[in-house]
Amino acid sequence: MKIKALSRSSSDYVRERAQDIHKVQKNLDPTVHPFEKAREYVRALNSVKTERMFAKPFLGSLSGHIDGVYSMVKHPHRLNSMISGSGDGEIRIWDISERESSWTVKAHKGIVHGLCPSPKDSKFLSCSADRTVKIWDQNEGTTPIHTYMGKYAFTGLSHHYTDPLFATSGNAVEIWDQNRSEPIQEFNWGADTTHTVKFNYTETNIFASCGTDRTIALYDLRTSQPISKVVMSMRTNAIAWNPMEAFIFTAANEDHNCYTFDMRRMESAVNVLKDHVSAVLDVDYSPTGEEIITGSYDRTLRLYNARQGHSKDVYHTRRMQRIFCVQFTMDSKYVLSGSDDGNIRLWRAHAAERMGIKSVRERAHLEYSAKLKERYSHMPEIRRIDKHRNLPQSIKKADRLKKQILGNRKKKEDNRIKHSAPGSIERQPERKKAIVGVAK
């Protein structure tokens, strides 16, 4: 007789001392784990529910500005600082961790339209409707280091990443040397007024501007010539370069959408970010280049995955007015918005995320549930809960109306195609619809 029966010795399976961790046995045989799919689904459902339950995006507001906040920029050297400019010409530096302003100056006589850091030193620049550009240093007190007098009101400002050059926008795009009081170059390509100018971080000599003639123009400093420009159906309000992909930028448009462009091929947008119900006024990339924050005239902020077309989250509060500037912080965990009502608001970039150090188990659990959510994201119940947001009535109504209008247009187009000779009318892709033409 040959016999062997199961006989487990408890010493092999039970921990020796109370201080030890429990021994865990694994058997991956699927028959030991019945209903694995159904249980995974339930877990995904639970995690999506808890995520919505824990979603508390608003952290606090930084109040101090008397007029609306119209420009904001990250501090050149300090991670927890932001610089903001308001309508009454005041500039404040904010200590975000303390949520108070550490430095205040009455900088201009008009609205502060643009702020930008000077990357090589701890200075920053501001431009205003009072026709001046000023350089500031926080350590040097409340008097500007230098003031540049322009011929017209400035609308935007951007500094070169390596050289002591900066560009201003206004009636024309001008390039200034920090050491000279007059602009060294002037670009003018059709537009009466340009309202933004932005230098590329990587290809440092390239910059983009957008003007009232509904164009986005690209210029190269080395050739002192414009590269190309794209004319859109409505005007562009702001531009943000992707910090990780040098040739990609996103433009916030008046037609409620943002358009991501590849600067090498401007005939078609790479991505269209939809969902706002009013003009988008500002846009910013997260430092990873994976996320985009937009602020709009409809008084909401929207967070996008940079490669997707619809927002993954929307933030609003009752008292927040039109949003004129948005910024990601450099750890990509927070976003800030400056609005008409004179407050800067601090938000979480991921509404349900909790700060602080997470244990390994907690992290593993979060990763696991994120994966499950992704896997079962097509299930109706999960999608419904994940997408649900409570929005103000006005935005809901506007959204409904907008959807109806677009639906009617689509129906009309469908009918037109249906009743025409096949091939005579071509359907315009969404990425090309807003683009009128490209000039080189």
């Binding site: 007789m1 062997k4 029966a5 010795s9 021994k23 046995q25 058997n27 991956l28 784990h33 995974e40």
Partner: protein
């Protein structure tokens, strides 16, 4: 090595994925997909799945235990080995698992083991209920309910149990304290518990299959089988479908969301006596009063093997590794590999002298078979019956109190809803492969049901027809007639008359219809 793997992935479809027990479903063919993004995503996912299956297979090497076995040498036959002989040849730990409890007074006994196989619950027909850790012999509780106990069953862990008694089903805790009396379950013969759904299922003399959620206390479903009293029930552990055996020889399959059986199979020429389903959900064993023992493939609902028992088998059980235990009369025979090929002789036999076997149950994760019979309970060693390697997060054999509590919380969080019980448990999250027309038609039907067309039928509510007079008359005792009551009746009669006249349009001068403004009129005006 890494380069070789990459090459395989690049080839994609060309590499035939190895089919192991860890592969789930058929891989998606992606070579014809036009969409580049989708194609690469599916390709990546598929390679990840395959990688996971391969790694799981490799992990088998480090599993600590192996399946038990009993082999005969030379002229020996395995079915000739008695338990006493086995006890001499196994280690002391295993030999302790062979025991007999003489409980002559209150039998026959029905038995049940917890999911980790540590705790045994016994219920004697004449009212004796006891629970204990059968390996250490530590008694949990013992009580006598002084009425018939037809079946006992553990709930999700060893802290709660259900007993089907003379009239109702009762829930007890691990100290024998009665916690609930389930008055909805009347004259229950068989109990079962679906651990992942937290459903207690019962069926009894009235032929109703009832599901009760033990976490919320709700009665989830009540199905009338219309097939008379039912004594035979078993769950399919693979998909949580309940199998009922009936007096007319049919076996019906039920889920809580359907009021009619999912499947009805005619299995025997006489009443069905016992039922068992294997854990993979592939095979079902049934026995009937016609003396047949049949093995069914429940994927195609066809009979696979037919065996004959000299006495009709009263109880069946299928072990985790696929051994089939058959209790017939005082005998128990255990069959090995009885599903796929027809066996000529049993693997093991056991005889319980002068006592009829009432209930047989294999112990999960152990090589032991428990018997409940007329004179008590017995436990016998059956090498090769149990799954050798348990998973601590599924059923922990060496569970501490803390772990039990943790697991209870987690299992409640992962509780499945009753409507998720279907014949195919993998249907969750799967794409509906029906054609577009079929799906749109289904949706339209669903929509129509939710939004009925045509004018809404309003209920004829007699609103405002109540009056203080009527109320007065109603409140008054019927057999007491006094002046006030007579007055009220007369007044009511008068009002009725006026109403009728008004309806006919024969209102007289003095009997103007009462309008809202008359409230403000003086008494004088009213009388005139």
């Amino acid at each position: 090595m890494a380069r070789k793997d990459e090459k395989n992935v690049e080839k994609g479809q060309e590499k035939k994925p190895k089919n192991t027990k860890y592969t789930r479903g058929i891989p998606v063919a992606y070579s014809n997909i036009k969409d580049k993004k989708l194609k690469s995503r599916i390709k990546k996912t598929e390679s990840r799945f395959q990688d996971a299956a391969e790694k799981a297979e490799k992990l088998e090497m480090i599993l600590p235990e192996e399946v038990g076995y009993l082999e005969a040498e030379g002229m020996e036959k395995t079915y000739n080995f008695r338990q006493e002989e086995l006890a001499k040849n196994v280690d002391i730990n295993t030999s302790k698992k062979i025991f007999n409890l003489d409980l002559k007074d209150f039998g026959p006994y029905s038995i049940d083991y917890t999911r980790n196989g540590r705790n045994l619950l016994i219920g004697g027909k004449k009212g004796h209920i006891a629970a204990f850790d059968w390996q250490t012999g530590k008694l949990g509780f013992e009580l006598h309910v002084k009425e018939t106990v037809r079946d006992v069953h553990w709930l999700h862990n060893e802290t709660l149990l259900a007993a089907a008694q003379k009239k109702y089903v009762y829930i007890y805790d691990n100290r024998g304290l009665e916690i609930h009396r389930l008055k909805n379950h009347i004259e229950v013969n068989k109990l079962d518990f679906l651990p992942y759904h937290y459903l207690l299922a019962s069926v009894g003399n009235a032929g109703y299959l009832k599901y009760q959620d033990t976490s919320t206390g709700q009665l989830v479903a009540e199905h009338r089988t219309k097939l008379g009293a039912c004594h035979v029930m078993a769950q399919n552990p693979h998909n949580a479908v309940m199998h009922l055996g009936h007096g007319n020889g049919t076996v019906t399959l039920w889920s809580p969301s359907m009021t009619t059986p999912l499947v009805k199979m005619l299995c025997h020429k006489g009443p069905v006596q016992a039922l068992a389903v294997d854990r993979g959900g592939n095979y079902m064993a049934t026995s009937g009063l016609d003396g047949q023992l049949k093995i069914w493939d429940i994927r195609k609902y066809g009979v696979v093997q037919e065996y004959y028992t000299p006495t009709p088998a009263s109880s069946l059980s299928i072990s985790q590794m696929g051994l089939l235990a058959v209790g017939w009369g005082p005998h128990v025979s255990i069959w090995k590999d009885a599903f796929k090929t027809k066996q000529q002789s049993p693997y093991m036999v056991h005889h319980q002298p002068s006592s009829a076997v009432h209930d047989v149950h294999f112990v999960p994760y152990d090589d032991v078979l428990g018997l409940g019979h007329g004179k008590g309970i017995s436990s016998m060693v059956v090498p090769g019956a149990g799954e050798p390697n348990y998973d601590s997060l599924e059923a922990n054999v060496f569970q501490t109190k803390k772990q039990r509590q943790e697991m209870e919380v987690h299992s409640l969080l992962d509780k499945l809803q009753p409507h998720m019980i279907t014949l195919d448990p993998t249907v969750v999250g799967k794409m509906d492969r029906a054609s577009k027309d079929v799906i749109s038609k289904e949706r339209q039907e669903e929509y129509d049901e939710a939004h009925p067309k045509g004018p809404i039928q309003l209920r004829n509510k007699a609103r405002g027809k109540n009056s203080s007079l009527k109320r007065f008359l109603r409140k008054k005792q019927h057999n007491v007639v006094d002046q006030r009551k007579l007055d009220a009746m007369a007044k009511l009669e008068k009002e009725k008359l006026i109403r009728v006249k008004r309806a006919r349009g024969e209102v007289e001068e003095g009997e103007k219809p009462f309008t809202a403004l008359d409230i403000f009129a003086g008494k004088k005006a009213k009388t005139n």
